[in-house]
């Protein structure tokens, strides 16, 4: 079960189509959140937008999340301890106002549990080994707690 989500701001037909076609070829089931996209998935189930509760339920049900390179979806995947593949929107293809999602891949790819693809080929290479993709370890949130505690101490200092 896979869940592909492109955020609420823009469509990302290239990603939705790629995942949908891959699902068809490999007899996979899954859910797609497609925003205002024109491409309607043939194999995956789909919704344009969902409430946070529904969105989280799909994340929970999925073995793997595939997403545009947005911080919100990464956080949700990490919190649900699901591996996530992110692909960047491209300005040249009219998918975003600029190419900051490409810059984003540089740091996102260094997070545990996050895998990055800049092209459909790279995406398919990751999907081909999807059962080896690992979620972030359970103690990953300790990085945040450590930082919060340090800030608390720094304020009191």
């Amino acid at each position: 079960m896979i869940f592909v989500a492109v955020g609420t701001q823009f469509p990302f037909d290239r990603l939705i189509r790629a995942v949908d076609e891959w699902a068809a070829q490999h007899a996979l089931t899954g859910m797609a959140q497609i925003a205002s996209g024109e491409y309607l998935p043939q194999t995956l189930q789909w919704e344009r937008f969902m409430t946070t509760a529904v969105f989280n339920q799909h994340v929970q049900n999925a073995d793997l999340i595939i997403s545009h390179a947005g911080m919100g979806n990464i956080i949700t995947a990490l919190e649900h301890r699901k591996p996530i593949i992110v692909m960047n929107r491209q300005h040249a293809l009219g998918e975003h106002r600029n190419d900051h999602q490409l810059d984003g891949l540089a740091w996102m790819g260094q997070l545990p549990g996050v895998y990055t693809a800049t092209t459909q080929d790279e995406l398919y290479a990751l999907l081909a080994r999807q059962h080896t993709l690992q979620a972030a370890p359970l103690d990953n949130d300790s990085r945040r707690q450590t930082l919060v505690d340090f800030i608390d101490q720094a304020i009191r200092a």
Partner: protein
């Protein structure tokens, strides 16, 4: 009952705001957190609906490239600082946060900058400005820390 000290948490919308919240949520037990953010078209309404119990000031957005908005932004931040008298200022960027760090440092308020997790190769431009005045300057990537002026103490993700 002791009164909680006030903390001003300020950032730009989007990813900076998400990061700021992942820190401030952990601090709300210990501080009265007051927020400030440039609220544009996409954020002003959703903020009010989603966070009715929070105090969120709206400020003029500013970037390092347009110096003229610096003046109204600085005046608004100054007003907030004088009205709320925070013990400390916490920012994850970008330019409006740097403005707050500068003003706060001149008013003797403790200032803490957490450079955005998106800055994996070098400290952000706004961060470099803030670094001149911040009491505590943190990166979220170990490799950018020098152990003294720039410290790594954890990350929001």
């Amino acid at each position: 009952m002791s009164v909680k000290p006030t903390l001003l948490a300020i950032s730009s919308p989007g990813g900076h705001w998400i990061q700021l919240n992942r820190l401030s949520v952990g601090l709300e037990e210990r501080y009265r957190v007051v927020y400030a953010m440039p609220a544009g078209l996409f954020t002003s309404t959703s903020l009010g609906e989603r966070e009715p119990t929070r105090k969120v000031y709206s400020v003029v957005d500013v970037s390092a490239d347009d110096k003229w908005r610096l003046i109204p932004c600085a005046l608004q931040v100054l007003y907030i600082l004088l009205k709320e008298r925070p013990k400390a200022i916490l920012s994850t960027g970008a330019a409006p946060g740097a403005v707050a760090i500068w003003l706060g440092s001149f008013l003797g308020i403790r200032t803490i900058w957490v450079d955005s997790i998106a800055n994996v190769k070098q400290i952000s431009r706004a961060g470099k400005l803030a670094q001149k005045r911040a009491d505590v300057f943190l990166t979220q990537w170990e490799q950018l820390s020098d152990g003294q002026a720039i410290q790594y103490k954890g990350a929001v993700l």
